[in-house]
Point group: C2
Chain length 454, copies 2
């Protein structure tokens, strides 16, 4: 085959996001009020989200039209190219065809702007003039900063203090897009001040930063809160990636047999995979492989239960695969995959055996990333490298069986801000982490004791 | 207009590079032997370049076919998209149409791989197993590391010591692609040892690093030398960018009136502009604006004379615009534009008034970059931001005159490794530099006194 970079013409960009909720093979359990254990009504979320996004969270409409003002910004980088990894195929000697959907071409360098732009838009239309959020390693914070900047609204990012100090480039990227980015815990919120009073040198955590951002939004009339993964509406916005893949594969007369993505909160994986789930339910030969770190084995080792989304127990309860909200993952370089829970929609599909989870150590992941750099040339983010490792394993299985499968990698982002992690790998100093069963059992034992509402 | 990201189908990628030499409006002066002042024959360059590249340096063939093995690697990112900057147009209120050719999508993040891949290929075919080069800020070194890695040959990069220490990410990128990268001056070469003996703490310079790389290549049978700009064959390989632009503009029924690029050694600018020069000679309404830093005003303030390409006087003499090989540009952040000379082909076209040079201070360049980030979203390299500043000025002229011109920006690379420079701008701490006339006169007074051979 001659064509290895498949560009969808821009006038064929999908015009609506795909909502998987009407097509689910089992009922999705609703979010619960932690105080009462009762399902949460839309009004309960209104202090921190605009109503249009709350409606998207719950809608059963199969398609949600992409507004013109969102599309206008998408077109700064979309459609994202689909590449065929011919050099990798040759290196592996596999009969499989390996494609990769390149979401790294967005201004923020990952898939995250797909939802950031949409969320900024719906907030702006609702009259919100300022959005608060948290960020760990900085991928989400920079995506939302970019989106708010282009939509003309303010962005306030609480960045985990240790990352703020270690990753000045991500912080500078946010500032270039006009955002205010401060280290968390901060003295701006009651939550932050309480933490600093106990421990003035606290390095911060994602849980703490969420508490600060939610408090910021809940206590200011002009401000709402925004989340970069986990929730249904976030996953909805990401489906444009899978919808584009379908059209691009059709251009070369191909169809996917295996879709491989990394999973942290689940939005990246959902975006690539959800538009193909109905094909599987209809009997097509297609599998969905979700790659997670062994250091944070949410899908491979954790129960499917109700839990809080944050460490500080401020969020509603969500039914999901969870290691427990007190679980603290080891400091692997794939910071975007260090989350104790998993999107409820992805969790349900894993529970239904539609999504197949696998888990990897970070050294084998970086080994796969190096093979990628030296065949395909592009430098993947450590999170993305989990999907590459998963795809290589699938392609090697095809080599054994002789099957000519079509494998699609969700290439979620580039590694331009992650070269310190590569340095660690190249110098042989990366530890492999895997929690012992006791530490998982301990965290799971703190899960709230609530029953499914139906 | 609806289409703002114009993707050329991959089967329409240009199959040959365009050679401007047969179309020049005046004779190009040949390189001279510095000892004799006589034109240099091909054999004089054979110790450091393979004969195929020496032939390309001198060929009068109008087209040079792109070899299959080069095309295979080009297709990892090519064709590069052409975008229309609608948001910037609206912000400026200009009737001009502004397009930008996005060379930042290459694995190394700039246009440099266009020639790096070609040079690695021709060296490999000639039996060379190792290439030595120098790099300043690291753009060229990383592009050649990438190319050598994918071609399966060794790459040795002498990196200016102060950059080696200040830019660990660029160095790590080279190492990820298997290159050996060491700080220059080093103890590996006689040139390096001589410098270290006089000054053990020397911070290095591009001139010193060139001396080391050339010596490395000249003294080892398995090794040749590679240069990332200035020479004719380097500019030749870059013309794929302009050839793609022509096809992409035709897809939206448009033609360029102004092509704007930044100039350091000249290869980036030549790549975008050369395929359109004959149009101008044939009477079409098209201008070529070359943007340089006021700190290194090679085209705007320097004479058109024979000079050495390097500080250490090891290279042949080239007829070019030159500030003098002893000129030391101020430490602006656009490291790729800090070169005392200019490609002989670009120099000739400037001398013939076909290329129009302009010069900018770095603060006005970063101001333009910030406007770009906040409208088009993407983060440009400081070098590239010079072209953006030039294009904004042209678009504002159109606003004054009401002319609906088609302006094309050569977007040579992203700024993901340059956020320190943005930090300097945002914190208000960037100095503006402009050499006084005496310092230019002093450097120019050291030019060798040789006459044009014809």
């Amino acid at each position: 085959m001659d064509t290895t970079k498949i560009c969808l013409p821009q006038n064929e960009i999908p015009q609506a996001w795909y909502n998987i909720q009407p097509d689910l093979p089992a009922p999705l359990m609703p979010p619960l009020n932690p105080a009462t254990g009762e399902p949460l009504g839309p009004e309960a979320l209104a202090p921190i989200f605009p109503m249009s996004l709350i409606e998207q969270e719950m809608t059963m409409e199969p398609w949600v039209e992409i507004p013109d003002d969102v599309m206008r910004i998408y077109k700064l980088w979309r459609p994202a190219p689909l590449h065929r990894a011919v050099a990798l195929e040759e290196e592996l000697g596999t009969p499989a065809r390996i494609y990769w959907k390149n979401e790294s071409v967005s201004p923020a360098g990952s898939h995250k702007p797909n939802t950031a732009v949409a969320q900024a838009y719906y907030n702006k239309v609702a009259g919100v003039t300022r959005i608060a959020t948290e960020t760990g390693a900085g991928q989400w914070g920079s995506a939302l900063s970019f989106a708010c900047c282009l939509m003309g609204i303010e962005c306030m990012v609480y960045m985990v203090k240790v990352s703020y100090q270690q990753k000045p480039y991500r912080r500078l990227l946010m500032q270039t897009w006009n955002a205010e980015c401060i280290p968390s815990p901060s003295d701006r919120t009651a939550a932050g001040r309480a933490i600093l009073e106990k421990d003035p040198d606290s390095p911060g955590s994602l849980g703490m930063a969420i508490s600060e951002a939610v408090e910021d939004a809940a206590t200011r009339d002009d401000t709402k809160y925004s989340l970069g993964s986990v929730l249904n509406h976030v996953l909805l916005h990401q489906t444009i990636t899978g919808l584009e893949i379908r059209k691009q594969l059709a251009m070369v007369d191909d169809e996917p047999n295996v879709i491989v993505g990394c999973v942290g909160g689940g939005s990246n994986f959902a975006g690539f995979a959800f538009p193909f789930v109905k094909d599987k339910l209809d009997g097509k030969d297609i599998r969905f492989v979700a790659c997670e770190p062994k250091a944070c084995p949410t899908l491979t080792r954790a129960p499917y239960r109700y839990d809080f989304g944050d460490t500080a127990e401020m969020t509603p309860l969500l039914k999901m695969h969870t290691l427990g909200h007190t679980f603290v993952p080891a400091p692997i370089h794939a910071g975007g995959l260090r989350y104790h829970g998993m999107a409820p929609l992805v969790s349900l599909l894993a529970d239904q055996k539609i999504v197949e989870p696998v888990a990897f150590f970070q050294n084998e992941v970086f080994e796969a990333a190096m093979l990628w750099c030296r065949t395909e040339g592009h430098l993947p983010a450590p999170e993305t490298a989990h999907a590459i490792k998963g795809a290589i394993d699938e392609a090697l299985k095809c080599k054994q069986t002789g099957e000519e499968k079509c494998i699609v990698i969700g290439y979620s982002g580039h590694g331009h801000f992650d070269l310190g992690a590569y340095d660690g790998y190249l110098s042989g100093s990366l530890p492999d982490y895997e929690p012992d069963q006791q530490s998982i059992d301990d965290a799971v034992s703190t899960l709230p004791d609530v029953a499914d509402p139906f």
